[in-house]
Symmetry: C2
Subunit: 609 residues, 2 copies
Amino acid sequence: MKRSQLLVPTLKEAPAEAQVVSHILLLRAGMIRKVAAGIYNFLPLGWRAVRKVEQIIREEMNRAGAQEVHMPVVCPAELWQESGRWTKYGPELLRLKDRKDTDFCLGPTHEEVVVAMVRADVRSYRELPLNLYQIQTKFRDEIRPRFGLMRGREFIMKDAYSFDVDQAAAMVAYQKMFDAYGAIFRRCGLEFRAVEADTGNIGGSSSHEFQVLAESGEDLIFACDACTYAANAEKAAVGKRGETTESQSFGDQRRKEKEVVATPGKGKVEEVAAFMGASAREFVKTLIVRVDEFRERSAGKPVAGPRERNGEPDGTEGATHTMLAALCVRGDHEANPVKLKLLLGAGTVELASDEEVTRATHAAVGFAGPVGLDLPVYVDHDAAALETFISGANQTDAHVKNCVWGRDAKPTQVADLRVAAVGDPCPRCADGHLKTHRGIEVGHVFYLGDKYSRAMNAVYQDAGGNDAPFVMGCYGIGVTRTMASAIEQSHDKDGIVWPMSIAPFHVAILPLLSPTGDGAKTAAIADEMERALEARGVEVLVDDRDERPGVKFKDADLIGLPLRVSIGKKTLETGKVEVKWRSQKEAVLMAPEEAVAWIAAEVAKAVEI
Amino acid sequence: MKRSQLLVPTLKEAPAEAQVVSHILLLRAGMIRKVAAGIYNFLPLGWRAVRKVEQIIREEMNRAGAQEVHMPVVCPAELWQESGRWTKYGPELLRLKDRKDTDFCLGPTHEEVVVAMVRADVRSYRELPLNLYQIQTKFRDEIRPRFGLMRGREFIMKDAYSFDVDQAAAMVAYQKMFDAYGAIFRRCGLEFRAVEADTGNIGGSSSHEFQVLAESGEDLIFACDACTYAANAEKAAVGKRGETTESQSFGDQRRKEKEVVATPGKGKVEEVAAFMGASAREFVKTLIVRVDEFRERSAGKPVAGPRERNGEPDGTEGATHTMLAALCVRGDHEANPVKLKLLLGAGTVELASDEEVTRATHAAVGFAGPVGLDLPVYVDHDAAALETFISGANQTDAHVKNCVWGRDAKPTQVADLRVAAVGDPCPRCADGHLKTHRGIEVGHVFYLGDKYSRAMNAVYQDAGGNDAPFVMGCYGIGVTRTMASAIEQSHDKDGIVWPMSIAPFHVAILPLLSPTGDGAKTAAIADEMERALEARGVEVLVDDRDERPGVKFKDADLIGLPLRVSIGKKTLETGKVEVKWRSQKEAVLMAPEEAVAWIAAEVAKAVEI
C-alpha cells in the first residue's frame, strides 16, 4: 500500500495532553486522535494494529474451544438489578434512559447479560461446559481518564465467560483460558507475567492478572528470580522464613520481665526504637483492624452483633459478624490486611476507626500492642520469630519492652501477613528470591463460582435431575490496552518498535530520490518489491510521498514498522537496497529479489502460529 | 466443528414476539435472542453470518481504496452542536450525560466525528481524495423497534465518508462506492436493485438506495422490466407520455365554453366524475401546496415574505420564500409533492392547511381547480395532455367542465409531477415499463456536498492556496440488516436457505445412527469427512448429538446451511453418503471421498471473489 493513499498524520511534537510513551507515540505516529476525555478515534495505522491483536485473540480463543458471540453495548438495567450491581457499581457505570424513560447502562462488562442468555437457553449438564466470548466496545466512566489508551473510557475488550457443572470443571476451563492467554500475549510479542491476584473471598490460585512488564506500568509485581512465580503486591506471598531471631540489643535480657517505658509523644516505630537504642527489626507493629463479613469459626469477638449481608446472595449460608482484631508485623515490615482477609475468609479487612482503636486499647492511637490486649491477635511469621520484642503498651504515651511471645502475649494465629519485600524468599521454589517489576495489566482470568448464577437464579439440571447453579469463570483482555502496552514495552527515543505480529504493516519501503531527479527509478524498484512482497503475504507500506529522505527516515522510525527497505542513489549505482530492522542500528545491502526472499522468510517466521 | 460444542438453542415454535420471517427464523434457529426492545444478543451461528457479511464489506471497501478507521460509540455533543444536529435530530438520537454532566450521544451516524477528524489533520488538496470507513455498533432509539434485526435500536453498520476537492471528484468517489456496493451485495448472494432516491435539495443521480427484493420489504420500488432503471416510490420518474388524449365523453364539445356545475357535497373525484357521467381520467385533480425555502426564480408569490433559513448554512446564498402553489394531476393519478420540490429546488413541499386553501381558492376544501386561480399552477404531463377537463371551480359545492388548457387556465410549468404506476413507460429505456417490487433498504450512497464541512468549517487549501470546504459523500450499509434480509429473500417453510457466502457454515454433516447401534461407524465417517473438508477450507458443522434422525433433519433445514451430508444405515451398506443442497429436494449418493471433492469445488465456486 502507498503511504499517499493512507491517512497518517504524523506530528513532530508530542501534544501537551500526552504523558506516557504509548500515548505520545500513538498521537505522533498518527494512529489515534482524541475525541473527548478518554475517547479516541483510531486512524488507519492504529486500527490495523488493534485488528491484529483482535485476530490473535480470536484464533486462540477459538482454539481453546470458546465460542464467539456478540452482546449489546446498551444493556437493560433490570439485569443489573437482578445481580445487585445496579446499585453497587459506582459512577464508572454510565447509566442512561431511553426515550421511554427505561433505564439502561453502557456495559462495562457483561456477566449479567451472558448469565441471562445462558439461563434462558441452557438447561442440562449435558450442554456444559460452555465458554462464550466477544470482542466488543466497552465503556467505563473513569473519573480521571488518562494515559491515552491505557486508561480510556471507551475501549475494546475481549470478555469471556465459562459455565460449568462444578468447581473442578470450572478450574479446567480456567486453566484453558490461562494457557490461551499465555499463547495470546506470546504471539503478540510481549514480555509478560501471569501474576497471582486477590480474588476476594475465594481461595486458591483462582485469579491471575496478565501483566506486560514495562517501566511505566501502574502496577507493582513481585516475581521470583528463579521460577515463574509472580504475584501482585497485595497477593505476593513470602516464602519460608528463618528460625527465631536472636534479639540483638536485648540478647542477654531474655529472661527479664516485660517493662513499660514512658514514650510521650512518640508514636512512630522509628522514634520509639531510636529512643530505646533498638532497631525497627526488634519492634512488633500492631494495627487494629475491623474484620467485616467474618464467619464464626475462630475466636472472633463480635462487635456489632450478628448481621445478615446486605441482600447479595453469594452462595454461602449463615450469619456473619464484624469483629476487631490486632494484626502484628515486625517494625521494619508492612502489614497486609488483604492476607488477613484471605486467612479469615472475611468480606473486608480495614483499619479500625480512631474511636474503635481507643475503645479496644484504652489508649490513644499509636500505642497498640499485643500485650494484654483483649482482641484476637494475628501475627506475621517474622514478628512471631522475635525472642523478645518492643511494642505499644496499650497505654497512651507508653511502650513495653522485653516482651516474649507466649509469656506476655498469645498469638491467635501465626501466618504470612505482611507485604512482600525485594529479596524475600520465593514462596514456590527453594532457591529464588522475589524481585519487583512494574506491570501493565492487559488480561485477567477469574474464577467466579456461583456468585452471579445464584444471584440471578441461573441453574442447570444435573445428572440427578436437580437444579444447580452454573459455576462460572470470567476472562478479560483489554484489546486496545494490549496494543498500547506493546508500545510501552518496545520503543526508543525515535518512535515505536512494533513486534512483527501486531505491526500495522510488516515492512516500510522508502524510495528516496526526488521526482525531479531519478525518482521514477527508485519508485519503480519500490513498486516491484511491493508487488513481490504482497504476493508472498507480506504487508508493505511504501512511502511514495515527495519528501526529503530525512523526513521519510524520521517518519519510518516514528511509525516503527519492524523492517525498513531504503532505495536511494546507491541502489541505482550498485543494484542493492538497504534492509534494516527497526530494532537494530546496522543495515544490510541486498539485491531487491534477495531482499524480498529474505524479508518474506523473516515475516513468516515471526508471525507463524 | 461439532454441534455439541456450539450453543445452538433451536426452537420448535416461533416466539410470539416475532412477526417477520427473518426474525422468526433467527430466533428459531438459535442465532439471536432479544435482550431488550430492539436490542439483541448474537449467538454463535448468527454472529458467524454477521462476520461473513462484515468481511465481504471490508474486502470490497479496501479494494475500492477506502481506509478502515474506528470512531467512538459515545460521541461528544459539542460536535453535534457545531453541525446543528444536536437540536435538529429527534429523539432517535439517544442523548446521555457522563459523570461530569457533559453531554454526549450514542452515534447513530458519524458525519460530525469524521468531519472533525479530517478537519484537524487534512490540510491540502494533495491529501485528497480520502474515503474513511468503519464497521461499528450504532444506536438509534427507534420509537417502535420491530421485526428483529430489520428495525432494531442497536445494530452494526458500515459507514463511509468521502472527502474531495469538488463535486466532480466527489462523484468519482460516489461511483466507486456505488460499484463497491454492487459487488458487496452480489457477493452476499442477494437479489437487489440500486434505486434512485430523493436527495433533498441536491439534484442529479446523487442518492441511491440498495434494496434487497423481498415480499416482506417495507419499501415500494419501481423498476423497469427491460433495463436496470429502479427508483423508490417518491423518486420514480414516468417516461415519455402519449400524445394529447382525446376527451372521451366530451369529444364533440371541445369548443364549448367552460361551464360551472353545482356539485353540492361532492368533493371526491370519483363522485364528481360519476355525477357528470365522466371518468376520473377526464378530471384534473388539484392540490394546494405550501412550498418552503423556495428561491425566487419563477413566478412564485411570497406568502409570508422573505425570511432567512434558520441558521443552518447549506452552501447557498440569498433569501428564500414560502409560497402557495397548485399541483395538478389527472384524476386517476396520484400527485407527488417530492417531484415538485425537486423541480423547484425547494426545501419542502407540503399540503397547505385548510385555512390556506380556503384563502387561496375562496372555497371550502375539495373544490380547488386551476381555472381562475391566482397561484402558480404546476401540471403533470398527463393532466396537461387533456383536450378538455373537469376540475374544481374554486367555489364551494361547484365544479367546472369543458375546461381547456390555455384558454381557461394557464399552466406555470408542465412536468413529471405524479407518482409512478405499474405499467408506466420507463424513463430510461425505449421499450420497458415499470413494475413494482417490495424492497429492504440495506445500503445507501449519498452525495452530501459541503453541508457538514461548511457548517463545521472544515476546509482544505486548494492549489491556489485558498481555503475551500471539503466536498463529501456518505455511504452506509446495515450489516446486521443485510444478514436478516438474506433470510427474508431466501427461506422456505422449513427454515433458512443461506447463500453460501454468508452461511454460518458451508456444510451440515449428519451422522444418523444412534450410539447404541452403529453410531460409532457413522460418527467415524462424519469425522473423517469433517477433517478432509476443513483441510480444504470448507466450514463444517457435524450434528454429533444423540438425537433421532428426524430431529437432526428438521434442525438442519431450520439452520439452513447450503449443503447437507447424511450418513446413515444405507451408507454402511453401500458405502455412499447422501449429499443434498438445502435449496433442492433431490439428494445425490456419493462415496465420502467423492463427496469431499465435489463439495470443496462447489464451495470454492460459490465463495470465490
